[in-house]
Subunit: 327 residues, 2 copies
Amino acid sequence: MHVLIIGAAGMIGRKLAGAISRSGKLGTRPVDKLSLIDAVTPEKPAGFSGAVTSLALDISDPHAAPQMLAHRPDVIVHLAAIVSGEAEQDFDKGYRINLDGTRHLFDAVRQLSLTNGYCPRLVFASSIAVFGAPMPDAIDDVFLTAPMTSYGTQKAIGELLLQDYSRRGFFDGLAIRLPTICIRPGLPNKAASGFFSGILREPLAGKPAVLPVPDTVRHWHASPRAAVDFLTRAATMDLGPVGHRRVLNMPGLSATVAEQIEALRRIAGDSAVALIRHEPDPDIMRIVSTWPRGFAAERATALGFRAESSFDEIIRIHIEDEMGGAL
Amino acid sequence: MHVLIIGAAGMIGRKLAGAISRSGKLGTRPVDKLSLIDAVTPEKPAGFSGAVTSLALDISDPHAAPQMLAHRPDVIVHLAAIVSGEAEQDFDKGYRINLDGTRHLFDAVRQLSLTNGYCPRLVFASSIAVFGAPMPDAIDDVFLTAPMTSYGTQKAIGELLLQDYSRRGFFDGLAIRLPTICIRPGLPNKAASGFFSGILREPLAGKPAVLPVPDTVRHWHASPRAAVDFLTRAATMDLGPVGHRRVLNMPGLSATVAEQIEALRRIAGDSAVALIRHEPDPDIMRIVSTWPRGFAAERATALGFRAESSFDEIIRIHIEDEMGGAL
């Protein structure tokens, strides 16, 4: 099977490509060809026995998608996006990449579908940013999308297009709305959500971290490992039981910051917790107050998607996958 | 005030232009200039004391929107669309007009907003076609959009864009989801929903009509007069109380076909009802079974939007507005 990952240089893209390379499989299905695309040339993962192509392309260029599809990938995982903050700052760029880029991809698949019956599986990484306040504590599977950012708007539009193109039979699509991924590896970034990872990742490494919101803030989390599992399942599962509503809220863990911190204390002790400095930031608090606190992800759960059930588990996954298994 | 109606040659556009022309007002606000746009040159309504421009433009042409906006209309009512059946048959045309045309309009307003602070009221006629089965008997104000047609998809995308552009301050937008308009004047058409009007309009004129579905079918209706009232209110109301969710399900009347027929009997007698021939059409039945049956339009009702409360009233409006007041 040939797998195309668009947005392969990002954190989740790299983890997915790495998992495929190590196992030679996507789920239980053997992979012999891997195509990696991003705005910068993605690093080729080590240890893959099949063929790997790695290419820098601008998905907002209408010529990019036909090039990506030249060798007819069986599975397309579309992760590429201008992130929330940047799409808010640069209106044109966000629409150009997140909306036009996605539409160019879908239309290029459609052209191949019309001319030679091509019909790949297409997995679109959407986001809980499609939701906006006011929201219930547990958002159910029929709650409206009312995004409060351009990024969320662009993701919600991508979902609608994916469903219409799937209904028409141009491809076999599934959009999954990912929780906030925690613990994000790497350096602290300036995303408003960055502290959810930072207050665990930095103290686990013996470094200080800043908490800009009260510890009563509740949010919806899943590990990077869960995200790779979600994408793998979405890319390989039978979509018959999904029906025509091809958008799923992924399961996750609804937890307060205080619950995150207590899990850190259980695993890394009081000294780790002492590295967290409370420094309220009204701007971040205002943004975070508009985000989902939890979901009743019943459809996805019934379809076999699973996330972590405690923050202890999320921290242990970080220690295993990013810190060589020990503090 | 200068009012621009895009899609002014359609049934609702003509009625709205006619109402403005007769009263010289949109709601309570005096109108001195009316610009009418459609794919064919809209007829100029009689009796308007102000200036009227009437122009044929293709809204999918990026040059059309700047031309429409040259004289900075204060209110833009965007009704233009490829209808459901045609958007389903001609995929490219539907997306070109309903999505690209809408986006060109929004972007042209945005450009003027950025360059000279232009910020018109923009009313977008959306549709209950944004909803898809399964649905509750009464759809509430937080139910998901899950369209089952390309037309519904394009309308749902227009709503998302309108909300993002409004949030950004490029215009002051409101999208209203119109019920099925009943009784549509004019000749029978081939729309799958045509019979809802036909089984009343034709017998009221002494002509036979075909009913292709069982009389237990329930649907969501409002009169053409209510549609003009909805648009007028949307174009002139204070949007402060609407908040950032700029899409409203319009009120309407949830009625079965049997209830429609009994209203016809009360107003026009058994002889009119006898003109309805039951001729089941499985294709139409299948389409109709995926449509909304009713709404709990609480937000719109709280904001003062009103529809009819009986089919007797809907029939009387048709007799007053289309038949000179008497059978």
